[in-house]
Structure formats: structure tokens, C-alpha cells
């Protein structure tokens, strides 16, 4: 299972890209912002695409009563996510090594993938919950209190993924480099599973 082990190790290591590259990116363009404002969401915190973007997004959001964008120390996620990602990468590498030396079955690879998928879905759920809170839990003294056509108070939850028009802003929310690396990495662990299965069958013969 040499080949499968190597693929498993590479796949797991690709997770580490999340320490360097953003997981998610939200861009806000408007007539007055031909160069859109943007935020990059990393597993360790949120940063502006340009130096003063966060400050400027907060400045605009105060008109509609949104909370300021949280700093790394304000959310437990930014402490836990790095541990989870680092831990999963380490476990993946260990499984890969054990697989390489034939100490564990290729089924462990799939097991890692399934665990990672569950954790990923939980992460997305948590992220979406934050977006809902951020976009709907508004300051009652907000300067501008806008209503939907049906009379309900307007809320400002950015899309979890995709494009949405919000007031004068065009909001784009899409996975970023780190997420793509994680996705490719996870796919590689599935490939490792099938390659391992193939190699195992050859040995059996």
C-alpha cells in the first residue's frame, strides 16, 4: 500500500494550506465601491482583503445596526478550528504512514475522510449560524431601519455561498484557496482509499 499511503499523506498535508490561505471570501461591491471591500475568513480570524476593508465595512454596517466584525479573540471558533485542522492533518499523516508500512487497512483512509466530512459540515453549520446572527441581530437604535416589501424588518445575512444583492451592495461569498486545497486534499484521501483497495487486491492475488 505504498502508493496509497503516499497519496493519503499528501491529501492530509493539503489541509495545512488553511493556515496560510483563507477558507472563505466575501466581497462587497457597490456603485461607490468600484474596488469592492472584502473580507478573507481564515481558520484563525478574519482579515480585510485590503488594509482598511474591515474598518470600512464596519463603518458602513453601523448605519444598519450590524455588529462589528469579530476579532480573533472574540470567537471560540478561531481557537478551535486551528486545533481541529492541525489535529486532522496529523492523524491523516499518521494513518498514511501506517498504511505505507502496511500496519493499517486502507479502510482507515475512508474513515478519516468521513470524520473530516462530518467536521466540515459542522463547521459550515456553525459559520452559517454566525452569518445569521451577524445579519439579523441588529442594534435596535440603528440609523436606518429598513423594511421588506411585506413589512417585516430587513435583515442582512450574507449568502453562505453564492451571490446576493443587498441594498446598494453586490455580495459575493465563495470558498477561497484554503478551502479548495482542503477539498482537493480530501478527494485525494478518497483516491488513496481506492488505490489502497487496488493494491490490497493485488497482494491478495
Amino acid at each position: 500500500m505504498k502508493k496509497a499511503g503516499i497519496i493519503m499523506i499528501i491529501g492530509s498535508l493539503l489541509l495545512l494550506g488553511l493556515f496560510k490561505f483563507p477558507l472563505w471570501n466575501i466581497m462587497l461591491g457597490a456603485p461607490q465601491y468600484p474596488d469592492p471591500l472584502g473580507m478573507d475568513i481564515y481558520i484563525e480570524g478574519i482579515q480585510g482583503v485590503d488594509e482598511f476593508d474591515i474598518q470600512n465595512i464596519d463603518g458602513l454596517n453601523h448605519y444598519i445596526g450590524m455588529k462589528t466584525i469579530p476579532k480573533a479573540e472574540d470567537m471560540w471558533e478561531f481557537q478551535v478550528f486551528p486545533l481541529v485542522i492541525g489535529g486532522m492533518a496529523a492523524i491523516g499523516v499518521i494513518i498514511g504512514l501506517l498504511g505505507f508500512f502496511g500496519k493499517v487497512s486502507y479502510k482507515w483512509f475512508l474513515g478519516w475522510f468521513l470524520l473530516m466530512s462530518v467536521l466540515g459540515i459542522m463547521g459550515m453549520y456553525d459559520f452559517n449560524a454566525w452569518l445569521i446572527d451577524y445579519g439579523t441581530n441588529l442594534d435596535p437604535k440603528a440609523i436606518m431601519k429598513l423594511l421588506n416589501p411585506d413589512g417585516s424588518p430587513m435583515t442582512y445575512k450574507p449568502p453562505l455561498m453564492g451571490y446576493q444583492k443587498m441594498l446598494n451592495f453586490d455580495v459575493d461569498s465563495w470558498p477561497a484557496t484554503g478551502a479548495y486545497m482542503m477539498f482537493v486534499g480530501m478527494m485525494l484521501t478518497v483516491v488513496a482509499f481506492f488505490v489502497g483497495k487496488g493494491e490490497y487486491k493485488k497482494i491478495e492475488k
Binding site: D35, E51, F52, Q55, N56, G59, Y63, I143, M144
Partner: protein
């Protein structure tokens, strides 16, 4: 008298000649419509798109420098330089008042003339624009990252700072020559003893290659002629500088006649490298004088003015071989050097011909001592030995020549009101186009460098008359844009300009635009009265001086309620713009303030002073429509009678 009549007769004759040539042409062109050509297409810059060139046009007697786009002719900005500008608080706020200090005290106005863009290796580098002030002799440096005036240096021992402010190939020097010779040092003496007693100074101002900081390296004390315009040598003639002179008669009255008598005046050729070496070895004489050096800092957002008390002067006779005179017919105005550095053009403004000297022949004439006497000890080279050629009967009243990158010269003719294209080397006239009316200088982007961008020519006219809708006795100033890519020049566009557009400098936009700043970083603001943290906004009293440390961000001031101010106080508003977003300036003004508004860029601090005169509650507000809640961006100051005990307090958002 006889001579004068002769000149007049020949002027009239030549006018006849030239106008016969052009009569028809003129009428045709004046009616040139957009439908007849594709001129409209050539100057059309679609909404949201950018121009190809920046053009910096002198604001003339407005004292400012205007920024236009070419080919559209759209005005982007008027950069305040030598005159107060209430719109931008230039010369009104506490930070920029020192910029207009001189040895004569605060001077609120200036007469701006000849912008020139900094160069590296003879090519435009787009870092700074220099421009001279004629009346109170000064040179300014405009920073092209902020498009603001960064520095102004006064030129002592000068009067009518006109043959300025041209830069050498690596911006080693920006050069300033005097138009009006004066007694140096100034003294009480009869005016009619001018001849032989007055002097003309040529100042070489060094420019720091990193910071751009200017300093007068030396002043060359020349005979008392009028030094009209100048140009640096370039490429092969780098190291030399050429100045046109008129009034070599040294007349002190009725110059229009008395300074027009000599058949030839001079172009002074100055070997500045030789004088620089002399000065670096301790040469020259330090003389007492007084001049202001004003520097603006983008860190403190504040200018400082320093008075300097001496200057190094050089007598040209002390540096043999440094200065020669080239006889040049008829009171030459422009003094222009072609991109190769070989040809020096004297635009003899009372002549119909253009005189072109050869740098190579000049060096040979010096080597072989081909002299034709001397003036005040300075050798005069033989005219025939330095002459490269003459552009004959080109027009009337040549003023200035620019060059393209294909070996052509473009000379303006004030009297015959036209631009004439001629071939460098063969001296043949290739094309002539009328201008409306009476052009002074012309400008080709990079035309004063080794590498001109020969696509457009801008004619900077002196008279406008009927070219636009009338606006009473005073009509707009005007420039005209020509396409010079073809064999014939094609008039594309008239556009109005501010002040009098004496001269201009153009540069491809891509060299400059990328360096343009968007904001000042608040964290780097070193203004002594800046309020970096909103929590530090406060009011401090020192006797009857009150300092308000105020911040502004969309859409409020901190603090916006202030009490405890008294009649008789001197109240400083030190206002810091906390925005860090592009194009979000805020303004502020206070009812009853005897000064201008402030217009504060993101990250900047500015200060105005207010003297409350009556008890009451007085509002202030944001003067620049900044945001959806701009109208709410306002506040109040409570003013109590002098001697009352109202407690000093300030707040934001308290009930």
C-alpha cells in the same frame, strides 16, 4: 528712430507675406467641423475611461497649477501653489500658512509660469513637478504622489523669476534665472545708473535625489541683462545650460523701444558642471541675504518655514571657460534644445526667422577661440561659427519651440498666431496651422526631455476673444490640442484653462497614476495636535487659548457639543479625519469664523482658528457631502460672556 521704422516696415511686409500664404488655410480650419474629420472621436474619452496623458498647465496669474487629461481636455484638479485657496484652506489653515511665507512676509498671491517634470537619465520619471513664481521669486516642488505642493524655496537676488524652472537630465538642478536685473545687494541708487551697475542672477538649485528637497547651490552673477527663458542641455550637451537674454542694451525705461535696438542679443551658455566643480572645491563667495525655505511634511501634515541668511555667489569671470555668449537675433524669448542636445534654438521674438545654434560648433568655436569681443569680460562667440541654420520666414514673433520624437520642431508664433512645424537639420518648414489666438508656449508631452511622446501638441494661447460663449469683458483662457502624428498637424480641440496657461508639462498617465496616494494612514499621522484615538478627543484651555482636539468620521464629529468657551477666547479646532477609505474627505466650518473651511483628507489633521465674538450657541458642520447622513454631521459650541464661570465640557451622544 530710423531703425524702428525699418523694423516696422519689415514687420508689415513679412505679415503680408505670411498672411498671403495662410489666408485661405485659416478660414478653412476655423470652420473645421467634427463631421468633416474624426477629431471628435480622437478626443472622446468614454465615461469611466481614463485619459492617456496628464497635462500640468501653469495657472499663470492665478498662481496655481492645473491638472488636465489629454486628449479630452478635462480639468481634474487645481493644485494650490503660490496663491491662497479658500476651497482647500491652502494658506488659510495653520498648517499651510508657512508655505506662503517669504522674506517680504506672508504673500497671498503669485504668478506661476513654467512647470517642468523631474527626469532620470533625460527621461520623465513623474516624481515631481517644479514651477516658478515670477513676482516674488520662488520655485515650488509639487509631489506627484499627493498632487500637493511639497516645498517652496524663495530665490534671493532675483526679480521677475522668469527663466525658470527647468530641470537637468537627472534632476540634479532646477534652474531659476532673473528677468529683471537689479542692484545686488539691493541699495538706494538712481534708476538711470542701471547700466553696468545692475546684475542678473542665475540660480542653480540642487534637488535631493531621494527626498526632492531643494537647496540653492550657487548663484551666478551675470551682467545686467534680462534673462528671459532657459533650457538645459541634454544628452551630448548635458552639463550646459542655455539662457536667452534681451535688453542687452541695459535700458531702464521704455524698454519696448530701447531694449529692441541691438540687432542681436545673446544666448548665454553656462557650463554648470564646471561651476559645480569650482564650488565643490570651495570656490564662490558667501554673501548675506534673506530668503524663505518652506517645506510641507506628509507625516506632520504641517509646513515649516525657515529663513536662510546667506547664499553662495559665483562671479563668472572667476571660472574661466564656464560662460559664453552666443549672438542671437532680435530679443529671443524661448531657448530650446532638441532631444539630441545638438541644437539650441533661439526664438527671436522680433524676427521672422528662427536661429538655430550647433552645440558641436559651439565647442569648436570655444576651442579655437573664435571670439567676437566680450561683454563684461564674458567672451562672445562669432555668430557664423556657432550657427547651425536658420528656419527662414517661418512666421512672425517666434516664442517657443518644442520637439517630437521624429526630428521635427514645432514653433509658436505670437504675432502671426500659428504653430509651425519644421525639420530639424534641413530647417525647411513642413506645415503651419493657425491658432486662436496668439499662442505663447506650446507643449508636447516629454518635449523637454530626451524622449518626447510625439502624439499631441498643446498650444497655450494668450487671447481667446470669440472662441467660447462670452462671459463679459473677461473671457476664459484657452488651450488648443493638435494631433501631430501625421505629416500635417490637425486641430482636435479647444479647451478652457485657468489663469493664463504660460507653459505646461505633459507625461503619459501610466507613469504617474500608479503612484497616486488614496489616503494618509492615520497610524502614521505625526501632527502635534492629531487625535489618533477617538477616546482622546477633548478640549483643553490654556489661559484664553482653547484647543479642541476633534475627530470626524461618517457621520459625526467627536465631540459635537462643547461648552465653556468664552467671548475673547482664541479657539483652535484641530480636526483629524478618521476615515481610512478612498475619497471620503470631510470638511468643517464654524459660523463667524474669519477664515476658510478646512477640507481634510482621510488620515489628515488640519487646524483653523475661531474668535467667538458673541455669547450664544453656535453651530459648526461638515462642508463636504460625505455620506447619507452628511446633513446630520453637525455640532454646537456654547459661548458664554467673558469672565463667566461656565464649566469647560464636551460630549458626543449624551442626553
Amino acid at each position: 528712430m530710423k531703425k524702428t521704422i525699418n523694423i516696422l516696415v519689415s514687420l508689415i511686409m513679412v505679415t503680408g507675406l505670411v498672411s498671403c500664404n495662410n489666408g485661405e488655410n485659416k478660414r478653412e480650419n476655423k470652420g473645421q467641423g467634427a463631421l468633416a474629420t474624426n477629431a471628435a472621436e480622437k478626443v472622446y474619452v468614454a465615461p469611466g475611461e481614463h485619459d492617456e496623458f496628464y497635462a500640468f498647465l501653469s495657472g499663470g496669474f492665478s498662481g496655481q497649477l492645473s491638472v488636465y487629461g489629454l486628449p479630452s481636455g478635462r480639468l481634474f484638479k487645481v493644485i494650490p501653489v503660490f496663491s491662497q485657496d479658500a476651497e482647500k484652506a491652502w494658506g488659510y489653515n495653520e498648517e499651510t500658512k508657512p508655505m506662503l511665507e517669504t522674506s517680504y512676509g506672508f504673500v497671498p498671491w503669485g504668478d506661476a509660469h513654467h512647470p517642468d517634470i523631474s527626469q532620470t537619465n533625460g527621461e520623465l520619471d513623474g516624481r515631481w513637478v517644479f514651477i516658478n513664481e515670477n513676482n516674488t521669486p520662488r520655485i515650488a516642488r509639487i509631489d506627484l504622489t499627493t498632487f500637493e505642493t511639497a516645498e517652496i524655496i524663495e530665490v534671493p537676488n532675483s526679480a521677475g523669476n522668469h527663466s525658470s524652472s527647468f530641470v537637468t537630465e537627472n534632476t540634479e538642478y532646477v534652474v531659476a534665472g532673473t528677468r529683471f536685473s537689479v542692484p545686488i545687494p539691493q541699495r538706494d541708487m538712481p534708476i538711470n545708473e542701471y547700466k553696468g551697475n545692475f546684475k542678473g542672477s542665475l540660480s542653480f538649485i540642487s534637488v535631493d535625489p531621494e527626498s526632492g528637497r531643494m537647496a540653492i547651490k550657487f548663484q551666478l552673477m551675470m551682467p545686467g541683462f534680462d534673462y528671459d527663458l532657459s533650457h538645459p542641455g541634454r544628452d551630448k550637451s548635458h552639463g550646459w545650460f542655455f539662457f536667452t537674454t534681451y535688453n542687452t542694451e541695459e535700458a531702464n525705461s521704455l524698454l519696448e523701444v530701447n531694449a529692441s535696438q541691438n540687432d542681436k542679443d545673446f544666448i548665454a551658455a553656462v557650463n554648470w558642471k564646471k561651476i559645480e566643480e569650482y564650488v565643490n572645491n570651495g570656490g564662490g563667495t558667501k554673501v548675506p541675504t534673506k530668503y524663505a525655505h518652506n517645506v510641507y511634511s506628509d507625516e506632520t501634515h504641517t509646513a515649516t518655514s525657515t529663513m536662510i541668511n546667506e547664499v553662495l555667489t559665483v562671479n563668472p569671470l572667476d571660472v574661466p571657460g564656464a560662460v559664453y555668449f552666443l549672438p542671437t537675433p532680435k530679443s529671443p524669448h524661448g531657448c530650446d534644445v532638441d532631444p539630441t542636445g545638438e541644437y539650441i534654438v533661439g526664438n527671436g521674438k522680433l524676427s521672422a526667422d528662427l536661429t538655430v545654434h550647433s552645440f558641436t560648433k559651439m565647442l569648436a568655436a570655444i576651442e579655437n577661440k573664435r571670439f567676437d569681443g566680450e561683454a563684461y569680460g564674458i567672451p562672445i562667440l562669432k555668430f557664423e561659427d556657432v550657427l547651425a541654420g536658420t528656419v527662414k520666414q517661418a512666421g512672425l514673433g517666434p516664442l517657443h519651440t518644442e520637439f517630437d520624437d521624429k526630428g521635427n520642431g514645432y514653433t509658436t508664433f505670437f504675432i502671426s498666431s500659428e504653430v509651425v512645424k519644421w525639420k530639424v537639420g534641413t530647417w525647411e518648414v513642413l506645415d503651419r496651422q493657425p491658432v486662436f489666438y496668439s499662442v505663447g508656449h506650446d507643449m508636447i508631452p516629454g518635449g523637454n526631455s530626451r524622449k518626447p511622446f510625439g502624439k499631441y501638441l498643446v498650444a497655450l494661447n494668450k487671447i481667446t476673444k470669440d472662441r467660447y460663449l462670452p462671459t463679459g469683458p473677461e473671457v476664459t483662457q484657452s488651450a488648443q490640442l493638435f494631433d501631430i502624428t501625421g505629416e500635417k498637424m490637425e486641430l482636435l480641440l479647444d479647451f478652457p484653462t485657468i489663469g493664463e496657461p504660460h507653459y505646461a508639462a505633459g507625461i503619459p498617465a501610466d507613469i504617474v497614476a500608479k503612484n497616486s496616494r488614496q489616503i494618509f494612514k492615520l497610524a502614521e499621522n505625526k501632527h502635534p495636535y492629531a487625535t489618533i484615538d477617538g477616546a482622546d478627543a477633548r478640549v483643553e484651555r490654556k489661559g484664553n487659548e482653547v484647543h479642541i482636539y476633534m475627530t470626524m468620521i461618517r457621520s459625526h464629529f467627536t465631540p459635537d457639543n462643547i461648552e465653556g468657551i468664552k467671548v475673547g477666547d482664541k479657539v483652535y479646532f484641530h480636526v483629524t479625519n478618521h476615515e481610512q477609505d478612498y475619497d471620503v474627505p470631510h470638511g468643517i466650518s464654524m459660523i463667524g469664523a474669519n477664515t476658510s473651511e478646512l477640507l481634510i483628507m482621510p488620515g489628515q489633521t488640519e487646524t483653523f482658528v475661531w474668535y467667538p465674538k458673541q455669547p450664544g450657541v453656535w453651530p459648526f458642520y461638515c462642508t463636504d457631502f460625505c455620506s447619507a447622513l452628511h446633513q446630520e454631521m453637525q455640532g454646537y459650541v456654547r459661548v458664554s460672556p467673558a469672565g463667566s464661570s461656565t464649566e469647560l465640557k464636551w460630549s458626543l451622544g449624551e442626553d
